[in-house]
């Protein structure tokens, strides 16, 4: 007879405050409900306020694991990338966000964790270790990430260089990376502005690429970053 197999929550045994900041966090029933509700509101907001257009909707992933990647000019970007994913994946999609922006204050951290399902990546401290933990989790297959490889919002709206961290997540694995391009977010809500203006947004979703034959080391990571950046640029030109 096959032995029963239990897998406790990956963030099991942590106090609530620690759970919020843990990169292995898994949503429970309450968080799942909140996420579905919040993202339904996000979709509505994007359609009404920004009259969003989506090209290549069929390229969005139907199953985990995956990494959604795009240019980054605005806080709207993570919402745009996440909004059109199938709702049954909702509690397994994690925007990777800057720890120092979203998890430094407790109230913002709770919001980011419960409503966005965001995971923190601390830009200055222990980034490499956190990335390897994120890679391990991605390899487990039960999650997808939303990631902005530029590392921060471009203050001029132009596409900056991609950091190799993206490569550290996927090099040598079959995990598909889906390049996307978001147009109009900089005009709608650039860094430094308090509130978003009602400008039209366009999301272009590209074809998935995997980097199974790329070596999991610095040269490989940089190759991944370059290749994906090229794809995002191509999408921008269409």
């Amino acid at each position: 007879m096959r032995a029963w197999h239990y897998t406790p929550a990956a963030d099991f045994g942590l106090a609530p405050g620690e759970r919020v900041k843990c990169v292995r966090r898994e949503a429970g029933l309450v968080a799942s409900l909140l996420l579905r509700l919040f993202w339904a509101l996000v979709r509505l907001y994007l359609r009404v306020w920004h009259r969003i257009r989506v090209q290549g909707l069929e390229n969005l992933p139907r199953e985990t694991p995956f990494v959604l990647v795009a240019n980054h000019t605005s806080h709207l970007d993570a919402l745009v990338l996440g909004a059109f994913l199938p709702s049954r994946l909702r509690d397994r999609v994690y925007p990777i966000s800057a720890g120092d922006t979203f998890f430094a204050k407790r109230s913002v951290g709770w919001f980011a964790a419960l409503c966005l399902n965001a995971l923190p990546l601390w830009r200055r401290k222990t980034c490499a270790r956190a990335l390897s933990e994120l890679r391990e989790r991605l390899a487990g297959g039960r999650c997808g990430y939303i990631l902005f490889p530029e590392g921060t919002r471009a203050r001029d709206g132009e596409l900056a260089g991609f950091k190799p961290g993206l490569g550290m997540l996927v090099a040598g694995t079959a995990t598909p990376v889906i390049p996307c391009h978001i147009e109009g977010a900089f005009a709608a809500w650039p860094p430094g502005k308090r509130l978003p203006r009602p400008r039209r947004l366009t999301l272009r979703v590209g074809k998935a690429v995997a980097f199974g034959d790329v070596k999991d080391e610095r040269t490989g990571w940089e190759a991944v970053a370059l290749a994906v950046r090229l794809q995002v640029q191509e999408l921008a030109a269409t």
């Binding site: 239990y6 045994g13 898994e26």
Partner: protein, 333 residues
């Protein structure tokens, strides 16, 4: 007593001398505990780890004791609300520990079952409560089929059923007690006996313990501690029960001894049940909500089996728990 007074009548909090006595004793104990801890530290000089744990446990008790006692004293509605919150907290810890929380439909249904049972208790509709247990179990069995993923069916459904029975059906008996006009002393007596039962077992075990009770399940427990707790808890329960059940069939000595022994044995078995679950999962505590204790379940495991047993003993021997109180106060009929 009319229904609104039973539900919200905090003025009746100390109608029964046992309610007052237990509240005063627990309050005094919480006030004196720092002195006792200081005394232990001075005389026995425990190692720093134990010293810190003692202190953590005490500060947790400062939260747990009012969180348990205030709703009971305040009224039946608050009691049922608190029991519901306790059930949900226990189930959440269990679901995350076993991985059952990933089966969203089953998990949502267990939560729904807990809410339904406590609604039936609040409504004082015992027939609905009794019907809900087997019917909701059937619902869980059926819900497991719906995903058309038979791999792991038995495991998920069995986990859901165990969770529903222990943290739903069993704990909701605490809510059923609240339908009785005299529920405060009964609940306070049960909870005090069950919690002190753990303390007795710990203390007797530490001083006299030699033979291990169940080394594979819970290596810290000893046969001597268990028997000591059985003796002391029974004495306490008999003394309190004599006052709580004065003028009823449960007043007789042999029945009171039976009741006390039952509370002690089932309290310890509830503890061992959770120990078995934790051993099987390979974890030490069910959570980290209560510093020094672990999770909510680590503190309330010993009520799980004792609550339904005491309820049915009382329900059988008294005129009935909730006798003379209006039934179906929400649904009518």
């Amino acid at each position: 007593m009319n229904t609104m007074e039973r539900l919200f009548g905090w003025r009746h909090a100390f109608d029964h001398p046992v309610s007052l006595g237990i509240t005063v004793c627990v309050g005094a104990l919480l006030l004196l505990a720092p002195l006792l801890i200081a005394l232990v530290n001075r005389l026995a000089r425990p190692e720093p780890r134990l010293r810190r744990e003692l202190w953590q446990r005490y500060t947790s008790w400062l939260v747990i004791a009012p969180a348990v006692m205030l709703p009971i004293l305040a009224g039946a509605a608050w009691t049922i609300l608190a029991v519901t919150a306790l059930s949900l907290a226990c189930y959440a810890e269990y679901a995350r520990a076993t991985g059952l929380f990933r089966e969203k439909l089953l998990s949502a249904l267990v939560v729904g079952g807990i809410l339904a049972l406590n609604f039936a208790a609040l409504d004082h509709w015992y027939a609905l409560f009794a019907a809900l247990v087997p019917l909701w179990a059937g619902l869980l069995v059926v819900a497991g089929i719906l995903g058309d993923r038979p791999q792991g069916y038995i495991q998920w459904v069995a986990l859901a059923l165990l969770g529903f029975m222990l943290f739903g059906a069993a704990l909701a008996h605490l809510s059923l007690f609240a339908n009785d006009a005299n529920y405060r002393p009964m609940l306070l007596m049960l909870l005090l006996c069950v919690q002190l039962n753990d303390v007795f077992a710990f203390c007797v075990g530490k001083t006299l313990g030699r033979r291990k009770l169940a080394p594979n399940t819970s290596p810290g427990k000893t046969l001597e501690g268990s028997l000591g707790a059985l003796l002391l808890t029974t004495l306490l329960a008999v003394a309190l029960g004599r006052l709580v059940f004065a003028g009823t069939a449960l007043e007789s000595w042999p029945l009171l001894v039976l009741m006390g022994a039952m509370i002690s044995v089932l309290g310890q078995l509830g503890d061992l049940t959770l120990s078995s679950i934790k051993r099987d999962l390979g974890i030490k505590d069910m959570g980290a909500l209560l510093p020094g204790h672990g999770g909510v379940l680590d503190r309330f495991n010993s009520v799980l089996l004792a609550a339904p047993a005491l309820f049915h003993l009382a329900h059988y021997l008294l005129p009935a728990v909730g006798h003379g109180q209006a039934a179906r106060i929400i649904t009518g009929g």
